[in-house]
């Protein structure tokens, strides 16, 4: 299906709500849950979820939602997750991706990381405007969401986020991740890399640029800070309270 046809499938408001709900969860979603969340009947939700899958916007599979197995566990339920493929339409036709890849290739060959990072930091600062550095994680999430990063809160397991090394998969991390109570150490992680295609071609260059952009956007001397902490399938940057690293004298558990 052509991109424009796939995107046109979202013209139906119910489909669009279902798509946006599933995409925002960052994990597999069952029919019942999607129906309840969007306020439509289960059969209607199922119909539209399958239309979205046919269009290649969602992927579907089956899973036992109860976690039980064996006799009595019931039939596996159909579950949906956002498809990884990118869709875009530009009218009139534009091709910024080729331009970005060529510019990145030249910058990589010429070793222009520092100049690129300076430009990215300035751009981030300009996007923030004359405002003070980002005040807290909630504000950071709003700023990041506005730029397409799909931020979500995650409990911090310590300054280095040791869970990253174990490659916790997204489905597992998704459910509890939103329930961070106040006062608990939490960090903001991002499900989406807005520069995905170019960052896959030139990871250190483009991920460095992304970090500099976010440092400019959030500020480097305020209550929150951006730090590189790459893990599979997510943005390479984590946003955390600056106290996580600035106050080694308190909470010194290591």
């Amino acid at each position: 299906m052509k991109d424009i046809d796939a995107i046109a499938v979202l013209g139906d408001p119910v489909r669009r709500r279902l798509y946006e709900y599933v995409a925002a969860q960052g994990r597999e979603v069952g029919r019942n849950e999607a129906a309840e969340a969007t306020g439509v009947a289960r059969t209607l939700a199922a119909h539209h979820l399958d239309k979205l899958t046919e269009a290649g916007l969602l992927e579907s599979g089956s899973r036992r939602l109860t976690g039980r197995s064996g006799p009595g566990a019931g039939r596996p339920a159909k579950v949906y997750a956002r498809a990884r493929a990118e869709r875009s339409v530009s009218l009139p036709g534009r091709d910024y991706r080729t331009a970005a890849e060529l510019l990145a290739e030249a910058a990589e060959q010429a070793g222009l990381d520092d100049l690129l990072n300076e430009a990215a930091r300035r751009r981030g600062e300009a996007l923030r405007g004359a405002e003070a550095p980002c005040g807290d994680l909630a504000e950071a999430m709003r700023m990041l969401a506005a730029r397409g990063y799909e931020p979500h809160l995650e409990r911090g397991d310590g300054p280095e986020g040791a869970e990253g090394a174990e490659g916790v998969d997204r489905a597992e991390g998704g459910e509890g991740a939103q329930e961070v109570t106040e006062g608990e150490t939490a960090v903001v992680r991002m499900r989406n890399c807005p520069f995905h295609a170019v960052s896959e071609r030139f990871p250190p260059l483009v991920c460095g640029m992304n970090l500099a952009l976010l440092e400019g956007l959030l500020g480097t001397d305020g209550p929150v800070r951006a730090r590189m902490d790459a893990r599979p399938g997510e943005c390479c940057v984590v946003v955390e309270p600056s106290e996580n690293v600035v106050e080694p004298s308190k909470n010194n558990e290591d």
Binding site: A110, G111, D113, D114, G164, A165, G167, R201, P203, P204, C207, G208, L211, M228, D229, A230, R231, P232, G233, C236
Partner: protein, 157 residues
């Protein structure tokens, strides 16, 4: 069937030309990252082996490609295992800061190739693959992530 029973493993050689000696203060941040990042590699899913100089924790003392050139030679079960370690772990931070510590390479400095599972490549063999890449461009004998070649006989990969 053993889950990790791939017939071929992915070998990688990476050269880095130091701007300053390893004991120079300007290189100190890199040296501090060596142990934690090597430990992360050893614990990474799909890690098979990395070159280590006997009696030391790493290969930075070996200089087979030039006095100021450190080499990184390792073997991984799959492309994704190597990719996720190189660019989706704490190693990315080292890569991001590479210009602080290493000179820019004009020629190719990273090469990938497939080895039969169980085979541990020698430094000489690895340098031959890099020379092959430099002389003839990417091929099934010597390639990069951008010119990736699937493992011999990999079905539907």
């Amino acid at each position: 069937m053993i889950p990790s029973a791939h017939a071929f493993h992915l070998a990688q050689l990476n050269l880095a030309t130091l701007r300053h000696p390893l004991d120079d203060p300007r290189t100190a941040p890199f040296v501090e990252l060596l142990d934690p990042v090597n430990a992360a590699a050893d614990a990474a899913p799909g890690f098979v082996w990395r070159l280590v100089e006997e009696g030391t924790p790493d290969a930075t003392g070996l200089r087979p490609a030039g006095e100021n050139v450190i080499v990184n030679l390792s073997v991984w079960e799959t492309r994704d295992a190597l990719w996720d370690f190189a660019y989706r772990s704490g190693h990315l931070e080292v890569m991001r800061r590479r210009r602080e510590w290493f000179q820019r390479h004009v020629e190719a400095h990273l090469v990938l190739w497939w080895v039969p599972a169980g085979h541990l490549p020698t430094v000489g063999e690895a340098l031959d693959r890099l020379a092959d890449l430099r002389a003839h461009g990417p091929s099934s004998r010597a390639f990069t992530f951008a010119s990736f070649t699937e493992a011999p006989g990999a079905a539907g990969a």
